[in-house]
Symmetry: C2
Subunit: 337 residues, 2 copies
């Protein structure tokens, strides 16, 4: 254990399977001797049946104060007039970049080998503006907003990430052949930033073509940066290549060094409370949080324990074809530490 003053981090277990997988993270971190004190807050849609949404000022302040947190799944009711809590957190905390690494897990076979991709998604604007209205009966419109400021910021993050993580190429994903002004502005900003990083290869790829190339040969890509909706789509596609959202971590990056790591899978209400959930995505998100905190030793230790447990294959949860409970799988990881 390299540090002795514990760091306070916010924990939002979330809805459905959230509490169980958060418990798994707490156990693994404790076993590994990670010097973190969790400040746990309940944010979710299942907590208050009257409002179907529960997010307090204290919860937001906790992340703002600690500057670091981990978040489980929060259900997004479709078409009930509620804004998704996941989005509210991103907007309120100004979490402008969502980083989703996707890599093949050794020993867990999919159709693709050696996938190693990083998607970096603009996280605050685009089609997620929330601006929509009915023009006349039967005609509705949504506004997609792209700003120079947000585009430069996420592009800068992507190139900096590439440079500091030994990556060689940044691909900007767009549909500027159709949305010449919005996606055109996004590309313009990426080009400006690219000029400051001559050591990184920069390319632009139309989103439809990108999806086709990703399923044909994901090795063509390295770091991908893109507006909000494309990031939502492509990061799920990439997750699918390596087994799905149950296995892929993510981290939201804000101004002033704020980072909120996040498992982006659903809250799986059907298996909630049954000790069946796979905590891998939240655990790997926790590892991203540790790396952000420069607790690299524990990060690598825990990462290896997770990877090795899955690779050995003796203890796997049902979604990975095994029959272990969440607690058995968690114990197996702890035993690897």
């Amino acid at each position: 254990c390299s540090s002795t003053t514990p760091i306070t981090a916010t924990l939002f277990p979330g809805d459905g399977i959230g509490p169980e997988i958060a418990e798994s993270v707490k156990q693994v971190f404790t076993t590994a001797g990670v010097p973190i004190d969790w400040e746990e807050h309940y944010v979710g849609t299942e907590i208050d049946p009257r409002t179907q949404s529960f997010l307090t000022w204290e919860s937001l302040e906790s992340v703002r104060r600690n500057k670091v947190g981990l978040k489980g799944p929060m259900a997004t009711p479709i078409g009930k007039g509620h804004r998704s809590l996941n989005l509210t957190l991103r907007k309120e905390l100004n979490l402008y970049a969502n980083v989703r690494p996707c890599y093949s897990l050794p020993g867990y076979k999919t159709r693709y080998d050696d996938v190693n991709l990083i998607t970096i998604r603009e996280n605050t604007e685009g089609e997620y503006s929330g601006l929509e209205h009915q023009v006349v009966r039967g005609v509705v419109e949504s506004l997609k907003i792209i700003t120079r400021q947000a585009s430069l910021r996420v592009a800068e993050y992507a190139f900096h990430y590439a440079k500091t993580h030994g990556r060689e190429r940044v691909s900007a994903i767009h549909k500027a052949n159709i949305m010449q002004k919005t996606d055109g502005l996004f590309l313009k900003c990426c080009r400006e930033v690219a000029e400051k990083y001559p050591e990184i290869t920069y390319e632009e790829v139309v989103i439809d073509n990108c999806c086709m190339m990703l399923v044909k040969n994901p090795a063509l890509f390295d770091v991908l940066v893109m507006p909000n909706l494309y990031g939502d789509i492509i990061s799920d596609l990439c997750a699918g290549l390596v087994g799905g959202l149950g296995l892929t971590p993510s981290c939201n990056i804000g101004e002033d060094g704020v980072a909120l790591a996040e498992a982006v899978h659903g809250s799986a209400p059907d298996i909630a409370g049954k000790n069946l959930a796979n905590p891998t995505a939240l655990l790997l998100s926790g590892v991203m949080m540790l790396r952000h905190l420069k607790l690299n030793e524990q990060a690598e230790q825990i990462h290896s324990a997770i990877i090795n447990t899955i690779a050995e294959g003796k203890y796997r949860t049902a979604d990975l074809g095994g029959s272990s409970t969440t607690t058995e799988f968690t114990k197996a990881i702890c035993d690897h530490l």
Copy 2:
């Protein structure tokens, strides 16, 4: 040959490799005794170097009059202020539905077996409205338009297609958890139409999740219907599953029985004029056109000849790992007839 009065059909060979692959279609159709007289028009971006775009009133009238046509690739210059000719044709001719079947070609191996998907894309509105503007310096917006009329029309087409083609399930793809009004209206229209087709299973799938499921297990889907941009993205993803846009056909459907079949791959200027292009996508699009014309016998004959030529593997173009020229591959297909 089942019909004796020839049918007149419009042919737009298009840019780049367009003329070569159109030549291939003409030869195969002639060899098969298809009773079609081609009315050929030049539409493209390479024809007039001053305007970089060439589309005459006569070309549009030709499709309107013949009600049926076949179109090769037309280059879309990015960010030059031109609207894509592909889109101009869809809008001018009110081609409201774009049908893209994606199925595994026997003998051509990819990571996926037995893919058999139909994507049906709304083809006139959504993010393709062309409405964009700068709000203030550094802030731009694009309008996504969804109308009840266009949504009902494409939903109706999708369910009718499913019913008449022995398909069991229609999945509406959306992001209504974010765009509650626009994608919400699209879903509402799909639900209305679904009620008229109780024999077809109807489901709604969020686009990010859909992409993940498609790469994990495409057999989960059957017919997919969706707004314009999602259709652009998902149809390319599906094409990637079976080998790419060089192998997948498409057909645009308009009011009053108009159909414009279309190879949706690029114009491949790098290999244009070198007798290297793969005409499969345009040939299979031609087959869709023949089925639309109820020339089923010739459609199936030509379809088998293409499939068998590729399956045998002796004559394949370079993109499929072979070394045949366009003319050799075309001759091989003709020999199978």
